[in-house]
């Protein structure tokens, strides 16, 4: 301990106030632990400030304009004008409302909030450097610490973020005007969500992707539905190309890509969004002081209680590895807090759902057919096309499907894949089904409201049993 320094103590120290951290802190305090949350930037972390929330806000605002523009077949004629500054202001209002909410939820739960950057001193102490010059620092001793420092965008060599031309998603979400031409590097979920937003807002969007389709990791028939719709929106895809270099031009920038034959292609653009993945943030923590190792991906390894190699230190959320999703972070935060409070908690969830808020949405949970095969099951699948669902037609949607995967013997639900309207909400039922150990018959034997998209879930389960009424 440094002379003249005051060391205060806390039972539970949480480092980082994103979804992983704030949930851990609130739950810890609810369980009676004296809890301190250290955040260096903004409550809510990436998710609320620069991720999930602002992206979904822009998606829904651009949808209102786009839907109205596309509704002539429904007898609605509109030529909406978009005021991007106004849209940004609204989106920022949503973010502010939610981040303030997180702050006050923490306070109401009795969490001590400390602003600053926490670095490990040893496995029972951190030093918190307060932001700004001459703000000083303080030492904090803890019984348990939960590391929830999140992740940051990966970069492409020679494409350093410059706040002007080469943008991470965070900057793209904060643009005050719609770029005339936007180049997007990476067709993962963030690249696809933002390409869709800007295409709907009127930008000419070009996407370059090293692999050979959009949304790597998703099954082909799912990616195809989203790619087709994106192409209808005018998005231009270029697969098998890697961003190689760029330079400024009179009108903006010119980006060079190379394919595997070293063929160079050039794209002019006003801005370039680089969205090629995210990597854990640990360099803010001085992990070397406690000799806590990260793996080859920079992830802090944890056990099923989210405990690191140190008994007293947990790690949750993006910093603890894939899937880098806010709800996984929250669920881990909850487990770590309970474990720190001495409960026999474990991250033993059977499935973590995931959604992509493209047009249409994608949502998945549990195993795909081929994952089920690889896991030794004899999978049976059932599929219901969205175009055969009455509710979908009433909202003028036709593309997509609901697919369920079960094992042929016992018909236990193993997984589901949905691409279509409200996929992100429909997946909830199937997530509960997997956690409950539901069989296909249980889903098919549950009455689903008419007319809803959830009837397609019902029908997919019936189809897997050869009992579909509304499909052949």
């Amino acid at each position: 301990m440094v002379v003249g320094d005051v060391t205060t103590g806390t039972e539970l120290l949480v480092i980082g106030g994103g979804p992983g951290g704030y949930v851990a802190a609130i739950r810890g305090a609810q369980l009676g632990l004296d809890t301190t949350l250290v955040e260096r930037d903004a409550y809510g972390g990436t998710c609320l400030n620069h991720g999930c929330i602002p992206s979904k806000a822009l998606i829904s605002a651009s949808d209102v304009a786009h839907d109205a523009r596309q509704a002539e077949s429904m007898g609605v004629f509109a030529d909406p004008a978009v005021d991007m500054a106004g849209m940004t202001e609204w989106k920022d209002g949503v973010v502010t409302r939610l981040t303030r909410g997180v702050e006050s939820l923490c306070k109401n739960a009795g969490v001590n909030l400390v602003e600053g950057t926490a670095e490990f001193v040893d496995d029972g102490t951190v030093r918190v450097a307060h932001g700004g010059e001459g703000q000083g620092s303080e030492s904090l001793s803890f019984e348990h610490a939960i590391v929830a420092t999140g992740s940051r965008p990966m970069t492409v060599p020679d494409f350093e973020f410059d706040g002007e031309h080469i943008l991470p998603s965070k900057d793209a979400l904060a643009l005050e005007s719609v770029p005339e031409k936007l180049l997007v590097v990476g067709a993962g979920y963030i690249g696809m969500e933002l390409s869709t937003v800007f295409a709907k807002l009127g930008a000419e969007v070009t996407v370059v992707e090293m692999l050979d389709d959009v949304l790597p990791g998703y099954e082909d028939d799912i990616a195809a539905v989203v790619r087709d719709r994106a192409e209808e929106l005018g998005i231009d895809f270029n697969f098998g190309e890697a961003a190689d270099d760029w330079n400024e031009t009179d009108e903006g920038i010119r980006v060079q890509t190379v394919d595997e034959d070293d063929t160079v292609t050039e794209y002019n653009a006003e801005k370039c969004l680089v969205a090629v993945g995210r990597e854990p943030v640990t360099e803010t923590l001085a992990l070397e002081n406690i000799d806590l190792q990260t793996d080859e991906n920079g992830v802090i390894p944890t056990d099923d209680q989210c405990r690191t190699a140190f008994e007293s230190v947990f790690a949750v959320g993006d910093v603890a590895g894939e899937p880098m999703l806010a709800h996984k972070a929250m669920a881990e935060g909850e487990v770590a807090a309970r474990a720190a409070a001495g409960e026999p908690a474990a991250f033993d969830h059977q499935a973590i759902p995931a959604a992509v808020f493209t047009d249409p949405e994608i949502a998945t949970v549990g195993m795909t057919e081929s994952e089920a095969e690889a896991a030794g099951f004899d999978p049976v699948i059932g599929q219901m096309p969205i175009r055969a669902n009455g509710r979908a037609l009433t909202v003028n949607e036709k593309e997509g499907f609901v697919r369920v995967v079960a094992d042929a013997d016992e018909e236990f639900l193993l997984g589901a894949q949905i691409v279509g309207p409200e996929a992100s909400e429909l997946i909830a039922e199937l997530g509960l089904g997997i956690e409950m150990g539901a069989r296909l018959e249980d889903i098919a034997g549950t009455i689903h409201t008419h007319p809803t998209l959830s009837e397609a879930v019902h029908e997919a389960a019936a189809a897997a049993r050869g009992e579909a009424v509304h499909t052949r």
Partner: protein, 86 residues
């Protein structure tokens, strides 16, 4: 008005309820003796001990009728079984 009928009597999934019907087991009998959610094995165990099951096929309709009576009456039985579990 969509005045929805309220049922919620047995904590057993549809697949288990169907099995009970197939085996001629009155699932509310199990509800009275089981702790928590009724499983397929509870039903099978009951089918082996339940004299009910020996009257098989024909009893299905009686079973169904009995079940219906229960479902129409408020669930005094499930409530008392819930208390019995404590």
């Amino acid at each position: 008005e969509p005045a929805v009928t309220q049922r919620v009597q047995v904590a057993a999934p549809p697949s288990v309820r169907r099995l009970a019907r197939e085996l001629g087991v009155d699932i509310s009998n199990i509800a009275d003796s089981s702790l928590g959610r009724i499983t397929e094995s509870d039903v099978r165990a009951h089918a082996n001990t339940d004299s009910y099951s020996s009257t098989q096929e024909q009893s299905n309709q009686q079973t169904a009728a009995a079940e219906r009576q229960k479902q129409q009456a408020p669930s005094t039985q499930s409530v008392s079984s819930v208390q019995a579990r404590e």
